[in-house]
Amino acid sequence: MNVRVGPWSVRLAPRALLVSVILVAIGFAVTVAALSTGEFTVPVPDIISAIFGQGPPVAELIVGKLRAPRVVTGLLVGAAFGLSGAIFQSLTRNPLGSPDFIGFTAGASTGGILAVVAGGSAMTIAGGALAGCVVTAVLVYALAYRGGVQGYRLVLVGIGANALLLAVNSYLLTRANINDAANAGAWLTGSLSGRGWDHAVPVALALLVLLPLCAFIARPMRMMEMGDDAAKAMGIKVEAVRAVAVTAGVLLAGVATAAAGPVVFVALAAPQLARRLTRSPGVTLASSALMGAVLLTAADLAAQRVLAPTQLPVGVLTAAIGGTYLVLLLRKDRH
């Protein structure tokens, strides 16, 4: 489908557009449900007045201070993981190229655990996670580099780094004192519980900068899925696009892990789910981000409500929901 306005024209796939609209609708519904339901039900009209600071004080406290930061963090972190996963799966031309498989998320965990053990504040833990992610990415990239980085080499080196870092993480937990180990363990499953605006803001800022950048490199990245030579022949500066994409992908995975811990599976599953639903060739960045946001907030809602009053960490649910859905979709695949 082509949209032409004067000299401008944009190509849109109707199905991808429809899927995006549906994902936004589901995201909205999940957000409303997350704000409204729980131990203390806030009726929907009260949510709106609470957001604008005119509702009953109790609703204002619950929505504004407790539920809204959590759900917003969930949406942003989910989008960041989805986008990061899409970027790396596209670059490596491999679903296993997700940041949670090639060591980036594990590296962020190592940084986070070290910060927990050092008795750091929430801010230090976030900083440690981001630093761990970036350092791991640089090392994996450098080790895989051989006059350019090939997708499968990045995946293989990354899987090696992942295994090593998971071992390091386990070792750090056994060496830590019991309280630190428990705290680090909770953080390691990935959780949105107790997230405030100070968790949401860094992710929001990162997305604000990186989303336009991603929009800019989305088309060249799609061409690069046909191979470097094919893309270069079309006039694409492959190495430059790849450098920008890797930077954006690492930062997104880093800030997302910093905010919510290493939530597994969103980065792997969101792009694959989005691709199958939109039936578009290759990985699509926009729908992967939307899918990530919906997947994480829906999983978090389920984690809070399904076994209430027991609260599960969201990481447990993302794996369960995303995994089940992905297996169902794969069964329907023609290939």
């Binding site: 032409r4 024209s9 799609r222 899925e225 046909m226 191979g227 079309m234 006039g235 060739p281 290759g282």
Partner: protein
């Protein structure tokens, strides 16, 4: 002799492994140039250098008088197209969508699909005879059909010069001829075609200009009927042979020496 594309003093290398030194090459305008030679003679490397896929260690490739790497990459892509040896078919892409990707160098972020794009894509699909496959999934096509689709993508790019890296490899004989006939048609319509081929007989039949390489050097170049001799074939390919006239095209036909004959029937 006019030539838009040429290389002077090219030293070509992958990392530290030098493939060729001091190569000078010119591609005559509106020729169907075929580069040929034994395995590892540097023919694909030379093509890749001409297509700016490989940066020469020294020397330079010129396009329309400018050093090719000094021109904006997208600008080059509107003048010179390349069909790489192997490209990856994106999962689940249709023929029409893949061919449309050839329009990338003519598009911008805010001008993604003009009427010229549409015309170029339908013309490319018509020329390569893939129009009726437009809605088919590329993965599900036969090898010959798929190669025609890749060619259609390169055609949609609408470049006056088109380079092809072993376009017939992995195809059976009928599809090889089909692809080469298509290339000959494109050449007749006024395009400059440059192809790396393996089969010497096919090269002689289709090339208007033949470049013969061995060990990273150009051994002979020119009209195949003038330069292809049994001495040249023996020197370049280490093959004893007899050259006869191709009964179909009148071009040289290489007949390798036989070690045994079928007994003559009485």
């Amino acid at each position: 002799m006019d030539c838009r594309l040429s290389g002077t003093g090219l030293t070509l290398a992958y990392d530290q492994r030098v493939v060729a030194t001091g190569l000078n090459v010119t591609i005559p305008d509106e020729s169907f140039t075929v580069i040929i030679g034994p395995n590892a003679c540097g023919k694909s490397t030379l093509l890749r250098a001409l297509a700016r896929m490989l940066k020469p260690k020294s020397g330079a490739v010129h396009l329309d008088g400018d050093v090719i790497t000094s021109l904006p990459s997208k600008e080059v892509a509107r003048r010179l197209g390349l069909l790489p040896q192997s490209s990856i078919v994106p999962d689940g892409i249709t023929v029409a969508d893949l061919v449309a990707r050839g329009r990338y160098p003519h598009q911008k972020l805010m001008r993604q699909w003009s009427k010229a794009d549409e015309a170029a894509v339908s013309e490319a699909m018509r020329a390569t005879d893939v129009a009726e496959l437009a809605d088919r999934i590329v993965d599900e096509l036969s090898g010959g059909q798929r190669q025609r689709v890749w060619l259609a993508m390169a055609l949609a790019q609408e470049t006056p010069i088109l380079l092809l890296d072993e376009p017939t490899t992995f195809l059976d004989i009928s599809h090889q001829i089909e692809v080469l006939d298509l290339c000959a048609d494109l050449h007749e319509q006024g395009r400059t075609m440059v192809a790396v081929l393996h089969d010497l007989n096919q090269a002689c039949r289709y090339a208007t200009h033949l470049i013969v390489m061995r060990g990273g050097a150009i051994v002979a170049e020119g009209d195949p009927t003038e330069i292809v001799t049994s001495e040249l074939v023996r020197e370049v390919f280490e093959l004893r042979c007899e050259i006869i006239q191709d009964p179909q095209s009148g071009t040289p036909l290489i007949v390798p020496e036989a070690r045994r004959r079928v007994p003559a029937s009485s």
